[in-house]
């Protein structure tokens, strides 16, 4: 389970997060929607222990990841940008990361093989990552987030750089992982993906959650037919009030 309570983050005088709260329960997909610079990635980076919060609580299965190494076994993370070690092969990268996450060696080999076949990486898995396309790197990142089959997934723009076929595969996979009981928090700019897979949606703007609920609830509340319309309506409303 992922819990965020009154989370704040300041960069000098600039407040990137102004008290964000949310909960992601096992078996559900929670989508963060927001404009560029709204605070989605900052929230995710605090949850995953990459950034320190300036206030509030960010917990994964009860662990604050910033100061608890144990908590890092409890989630898989896929960052927004595919920054990988170019001189390692895809298999070597997954092997190192899987081992660090405590996956037993034989099981890890099988897991890498299965994931690389499912993500159609098997032909390039033993080539250096520097020879991969952006989409291939995204697939390696996605495989890495699932390498130890963690109970929570945190995905930052998981479909960025993927072709329509694989975007569809990833959407189905995310739903499938949720069906197996994982708590999934993901951010995206793509409203259609939100409609396809989200159980709950939060729209984040200027460091605050300004709307949240199920997809149907948001349609009803804002009298809109699509999440795109809801998003534009909510963001315009926030900006006109500032």
């Amino acid at each position: 389970m992922i819990e965020v309570k009154e989370l704040k983050k300041n960069y000098g005088n600039y407040q990137a997060l102004k008290g964000v709260s949310l909960e992601v329960h096992p078996g559900s997909v929670f989508v963060l929607l927001g404009s560029n610079g709204a605070g989605k990635t900052t929230l995710i980076k605090i949850l995953t222990g990459l950034l320190r919060s300036s206030g509030g609580v960010a917990l994964i299965d009860g662990f604050s990841v910033w100061d608890n190494v144990e908590g890092r076994e409890r989630f898989g993370y896929m960052p927004e940008h595919p920054h990988l070690y170019d001189r390692l092969t895809g298999r070597e990268f997954l092997d190192v990361m899987g081992s660090l996450r405590g996956v037993e060696e034989t099981k890890l080999s099988q897991r890498i093989q299965i994931l690389s076949e499912q993500l159609e990486l098997d032909r390039v898995i033993d080539s250096e990552i520097s020879s991969y396309s952006k989409g291939m790197k995204q697939k390696v990142l996605f495989a890495n987030s699932l390498i130890n089959d963690p109970p929570n997934l945190i995905l930052d723009e998981p479909t960025s750089g993927l072709d329509p076929r694989f975007t569809r595969y990833i959407k189905r996979r995310i739903r499938g992982e949720a069906a197996e009981g994982k708590a999934i928090l993901m951010s995206t700019h793509i409203t259609s993906i939100t409609e396809d897979i989200a159980d709950k949606v939060a729209i984040i703007e200027e460091g605050r959650i300004v709307a949240h609920g199920g997809v149907g609830e948001l349609y009803n509340k804002y009298d809109c037919d699509t999440i795109e319309e809801v998003f534009v309506e909510v963001v315009n409303h926030v900006r006109s009030n500032n």
Partner: protein
Amino acid sequence: MFSTEIIRSYRVSRSKISEHPFMTLWFLILLIAGIWMTLIVIVLIAEMDEPFINPTRRDILFSLFFILMAKASAETSEDSLRNHSLKYYFVTPIRTVKIALSRLLKVFWYNLALIAFVMSLVTLLIHVQGITLPADSMFFVKLYALIILAPCVGFNLAVFSHQASLKDKIILVSVYGQVLTFVWTILHPSLSPSTQLVLIAILLLYSVFITLITTPMFKNAWISGIKGKNHNVLRFHRRKDFLPSIIPPGIRKVAQGEILRRWRNRQIPATIGVNLILSIGLLFIYRQLGPDPDIGLDLGKYFYPALIGITIYTGIVVHSVIPSLTLFSRDGNRLWGFRTAPLDSRSLVWGKASSSLLFSPLNSLVLVLPITMVLEYPPIFILFALAASFCMYFLFTGIGVLMGVVFPNFDESNRGAPDVMTMYSSLMFCLITGTFFLGIPTAVFQMDRILGLLTCIFFADMAALVMVILFKMTGKRYSDMEVSM
């Protein structure tokens, strides 16, 4: 393009100075002290008037030219030919020749700025201290001419050595590399200074001309520098762990990944190569001067031990300090991987540092054994030299890793290479602490060999303890570091 680089460099320097004002002050003090000591040593050597330890002006000019050329070559490789950001220039309608020239100009800019700064300090110190250097004005004119030539030669050699085909590499480097022979020949004292200057100018024009006509090769070198290999490079999945299982699994995995990366980036072979060259250089000096060189003042018996000490120091700096400084900054944006994994900071620091430490016995043997065996030094001296090298390894790795995490350079455009302030300050720290840690055992060794060896082993133990403490401090610093590049 050049203006962009200047603005970027200025902003990076400004933010570093404002973030670390004491470090900047310390760097300046060390730099001034270093230059002052160098000037004093030059004057003292000149006054001794011993032909053997008095290098000729030709030696000095060529050495300075070679160092600057090598520096420019390394900078071109790191900053241009392995720089992914250059794609933003290559996709614009700008001609490749302009891109290549802007990169050459950048190398010039950095080197000339550094030289101008150092020479200003030299001038100031000469004036304040009333030092008279044993060199005439023509020496400095030639020095400046070579300073301008060196970056150009270094740039071209880097481009040629990055060509995809081995045949092209060998032909281009060996043909163009003759410029070095020409520089050495031109500096012969039988030629008049004006002739030498004219010939250096011709070499400069020739080098710029070569840069211009080989610009398509610049693009090829860049493609070759950034591309990966599309074949099974190591079949890692068939023989996973090449490090012994006695090493804890977390540390082992990090160390293996680090060793693979450094091996494929050619850092490990390059380091071993440099140490081999140093060792061969020592043997060459021995062959030239014989076992008992006459350098006056009864200093002959200290000549080879001192030279061995300097060689070991240089070899360990290359093998240990420089890679340690970049252990975290080279990762840059990739640090998310380790940071989100359930790996404690201690294991990460030990794992990364092990990629240097594990090769230290091999490097020590390469550095120490050939010359000591040729000189037929007694086994106790060899053991003393080995213990001293381990002492330096522990100490310098600890200092390098800590300095690297306290003053990281997460600049992707130069692949996390340490800035000149961090590099120079770290090397000086190493020199000072190394002198302290080895000074006492050396003094004891002069009086009693066995006791000296035991003292050296004790100080190596102390150095290992210092390293452990420095690693702990590094881990703490890393844990507090936000990863948001």
